[in-house]
Amino acid sequence: MTTISPQRAEISSLPRGTGTRATRIIGIATIVMIAWLALFGLVLSPADRDQGDSVRIMYVHVPSVWLAYLAFIVTAVCSAIHLFGKRHSLGVDRIAGASAEIGVVFMAVTLATGMLWGRITWGVYWQWDARLTTTALLFVSYIGYLAVRGLDGTQQQRARRSAVIGLLVVLEIPLVHWSVRLWRSLHQEATVLGTDLDVSLDGLMLFSLFVGVIAFTLLFLWLVLHRSRTLTMIDLVGDRELDRAVIARRAEGGIDHA
């Protein structure tokens, strides 16, 4: 059971922000890596033989899809830990929530950059291919997950509900992917997508991509730490308001009986 007074002590001992030494180091490393990514992605790496400069979209697109999936894996794992763990920890629930928020944002970036690249390369924004369609449904499902997190209720209720929804999404993904793949395999144009693998990656392009993945992983770490701490603080503020309200109610009772 949650006790209130120790948390109140915790509030007064909290720093004014969500930064710590560790997050500042990660933050600086992220900035450096993103600068590197810009340097390699925009300047040093060559344009593609067939696709020209549009290939550079890949240096944002691939790392952001990686980050989004990483975020959703973290959400799923944290949901499972919350639900099956003995403590039903609210801490992991907040990490799950923070991670899902970041995942949704970067999934949007993935879809947007993917569509731009598709328009340039294939002449269309959208292809009904298994990966794209699964990604889009995943995106919508996590928006639903975040909506469930926003429902009324206590912190424990929120945590339990959203953990269940978080795990149901995991159940959904392979089925969606399987169905879309089976569906598109009936259509020959599915092979068009092969082109994005046809990009002949030379050493420098591969290295730029690698820099991007590292930069975005650090960015994820930095964001998830800050966001989950922010969520913790929001919950603590809720607890403190509650504490005040309890005191107020008691005073109200005292006045009534004085």
């Binding site: 639900l83 449904l137 919508v140 499902s141 928006i143 639903g144 909506a147 469930v148 429902l151 009324d152 209720q157 339990r160 509900r161 953990a163 269940v164 929804i165 795990l167 149901l168 159940l171 959904e172 089925l175 969606v176 399987w178 169905s179 879309v180 089976l182 569906w183 009936l186």
Partner: protein, 230 residues
């Protein structure tokens, strides 16, 4: 206290839901006409007979999905109006058989709905059911319905309690149900021979639909309790 068998609770739940529908006729008098109306509206939107025949299987399942959302809202509104779902919780009734009882009632209602929609498609869109495709058609309808009802009942439970959650239902249900829409549409196309598809092409989809039904049936058994818990 005597341990009550899960089967007895599920049966009581199922009988109760069917009785409520027989008495109130909300599905029969409001939701089935709505579904038929949707089929008419599709015909207005896709103004060409040959197009309609071609896409009829997909339209049938779309109409099923939309109508299911309303049926789920209705069947959980029945639970919420006088606080029955809450009372079941308050009485410590095992949520797993409650889930299965409501699931079974939803399956029954959806099968009636699908029968009506297929007849509507025969009449309005001119589709033809060939003799060889009937087995595939029926097995597809049953397995797709089992999966849809499993999903609908899970999220219906979540949306039941507090008002204002109903608007969340389509956002949660439709993405999850999309494999059923894809699979059931393709399987019915094969059963009807739409666009020259062979019946044999339908069977792989049945595998998908069955796995889906089992996955969400099992998932729902675990998820329903925590979702309706206050």
């Amino acid at each position: 206290m005597a341990e009550v068998s899960r089967l007895a609770i599920a049966r009581a739940m199922f009988v109760k839901d069917v009785r409520v529908e027989i008495r109130s006729r909300v599905v029969a008098h409001q939701i089935l006409p709505f579904a038929a109306l949707v089929m008419v509206l599709f015909a207005f939107a896709l103004d060409a007979t040959n197009v309609l025949t071609r896409v009829a299987p997909g339209l049938i399942w779309l109409a099923v999905l939309f109508s299911m959302i309303i049926i789920v809202q209705r069947t959980f509104a029945v639970e919420a109006t006088d606080g029955a779902l809450e009372a079941l919780q308050a009485a410590g009734v095992d949520p797993v058989p409650v889930y299965w009882g409501k699931w079974a009632a939803l399956v029954t209602q959806l099968l009636v709905l699908e029968l009506l929609l297929i007849v509507t498609a025969i009449v309005l869109y001119g589709i033809e059911v060939r003799a060889g495709g009937i087995v595939l058609l029926v097995t597809t309808a049953i397995s797709a319905t089992c999966g849809l009802a499993a999903v609908g009942t899970i999220y219906g439970g979540l949306a039941a309690g507090v008002s204002g959650r109903e608007t969340l239902l389509p956002l949660l249900v439709l993405p999850v149900a999309s494999p059923v829409l894809i699979g059931a549409t393709r399987a019915v196309e094969a059963a009807l021979g739409t666009g020259g598809t062979a019946i044999a092409e339908g069977w792989p989809w049945l595998g998908l639909l069955s796995v889906f039904a089992v996955a969400f049936g099992v998932g729902g058994s675990f998820a329903f309790g925590p979702l309706i818990e206050d």
